[in-house]
Symmetry: C2
Subunit: 335 residues, 2 copies
């Protein structure tokens, strides 16, 4: 099976580049209500599944013990831009557990976002692990370990009890077996497991509905999803696509991106779960795809639908502000 062209990039009157991709929407019972492309092929969710990876933080009682509210939980599910607020909140999470950034195993990098990077360059000698886009997730990991009585050192490795627990959680949610065979190493050094895109969508549907989950897991899932929707800045950052998507319909859209062209989203009230992957790994295509799929589920003419369609199909301007072309989704996503 081939992945269809889902996004085109035009220039003048011509298509300059095109992206292929896979996409799936499942309902609250996990039934596929829309699909395109290889939705059964193993796909690394990368950071798109951070809300799943944050479950031990809540299920263990660590989040309550350390007094975490929606912001801390959102940051634990985030791929943030390394803005001052993100780094400061990660530091404060670690402090609640009596730790500091030296315990983080994610490595350090400058922000991927130009305005944030310019600010960092002007205020920092160099970035620390707190500025890593995954520092919130890692801080959550450390807090879960400390509260559970596990030595945090090595928390990022396959055999650490935290990663074993995350593996069990993700098997429970996605229905896929996770082993060394479908395991890769993520940018922040933790294991990432390739699962069918439809399994990833079903896992998020379970998080939204709680169907088939133990009560503690169902409650923790609901709390994490609601935290992200309540604090979208802490899930990504200024002008980031995840943040903007969730701001379209506050409290009604959950969205999370992952590297290499992955995007997951939920309309929790409708029990609908969305997952897309751009075959070539392009974020611009994954963004258009997820926005277009979400738009279908808002009323024609509604501000939410119009806002989502404007994020799916948008013009490109050059350094002088001239319109040079468009990014647009193909009919595949509206069939």
């Amino acid at each position: 099976m081939e992945n269809p062209v889902t996004v085109e990039v035009t220039r003048g009157k011509l298509v300059e580049s095109r992206h292929r991709g896979m996409a799936v929407v499942v309902d609250g019972d996990g039934k596929v209500v829309f699909s395109a492309g290889e939705i059964e092929a193993p796909t690394f969710p990368r950071s798109a599944c951070k809300a799943m990876q944050a479950l031990p933080l809540v299920e263990s009682g660590a989040a309550d013990a350390y007094g975490f509210g929606a912001r801390e939980l959102a940051l634990a599910c985030s791929s943030h831009s390394g803005e001052d607020e993100h780094a400061a909140l990660a530091a404060s999470m670690l402090k609640r557990a009596g730790r500091d950034e030296s315990v983080l195993e994610c490595g350090a990098h400058w922000s991927f976002e130009q305005p944030a990077l310019i600010h960092q360059a002007r205020t920092l000698d160099k970035p620390s692990a707190l500025h890593n886009n995954c520092s919130g997730k890692h801080s959550g990991f450390v807090c879960a370990c400390c509260h559970s009585g596990w030595e945090p050192k090595g928390y990022s490795t396959y055999d650490h009890p935290l990663q074993a627990e995350i593996r069990a959680i993700m098997e429970d949610l996605t229905g896929a077996a996770l082993t060394h065979d479908n395991c890769g190493t993520d940018g922040c050094s933790i294991p990432t497991y390739a699962v069918p895109l439809v399994g990833l969508a079903r896992g998020f549907a379970r998080m939204a509905t709680g169907k088939g989950l133990e009560p503690v897991r169902a409650a923790a899932s609901k709390r994490l999803i609601e935290a992200c929707m309540a604090e979208p800045f802490y899930v990504a950052g200024t002008k980031r696509f995840c943040t903007r998507l969730m701001e379209v319909a506050p409290g009604r859209i959950f969205a999370k991106t992952g590297a290499e062209g992955v995007f997951c989203a939920l309309l929790p009230q409708q029990g609908l779960s969305f997952a897309v992957k751009c075959e070539d790994g392009a974020s611009r295509a994954a963004e258009s795809m997820i926005a277009a799929l979400l738009a279908r589920h808002f009323d024609p003419g509604s501000p939410e639908r119009e806002a989502l369609l404007a994020m799916a199909n948008h013009s490109m301007r050059n350094w002088n502000g001239l319109h040079v072309g468009d990014v647009r989704v193909t009919d595949v996503l509206f069939s």
Copy 2:
């Protein structure tokens, strides 16, 4: 016709993302000696054809009148990183023509390269048009206009005599008709024309060999290509792929990238011309493709071939330096 998968990106034991592309190699007579994918489809060369666009600067006598050497000519063909040396040289080119940056029509942007951007953020309030990656090309345009007695204002527009001359040059070189129908606007506001990839390759082959060109054009072409090979830093910048490719075999490889996954290259002594386009616009794929195609034409076991293959197929490391996967070309490029 479909474009084949030419580059794969792996993680762990799996392929995480894949890129499709088209590629063509022609000999000094313009004969296709290798091809893959849609090489007759209209393709915007974008910045890959800057050496063609720089011909009026040399052919008009402006380059000699203003005393330009290899560095200035290389910068006129460049997509540079906005490093201090690039901006300073563009300013000095304009000064020779009695102009300054206020005449540039390319717009301003921060560097696309992280180290250069960090340096800019720490030393500039904001970037000027001199830091635009196209400022060398635009400075060359202004110099060509001034020497030719054309008012530079509007030099970036379709109907300006400079763009009309560039259009005629590119038709001569590529064999394609250039009109409003296949014209788009480039990032720096000048017209860009979609031509078959094989036509682009033939155009560069003519620049390398001079075959079928007027003597003035043949000489100017040779001078520009040699200037780029002599000053690869001024064609791109520190650690940039174009610069690194040309440093593999000094004076024997010409290479130039373009936005949306285009790359052109020459082995001038062999009269071989290479052009690739990644269907989805990814630079990482275009880079691997062009390096792999070039490698085939160096002796097995030679340092040049090994260096090029190492640029085509390379490992990816995360923030902690762990090996997480590889970028590798497929057999399509070695068939």
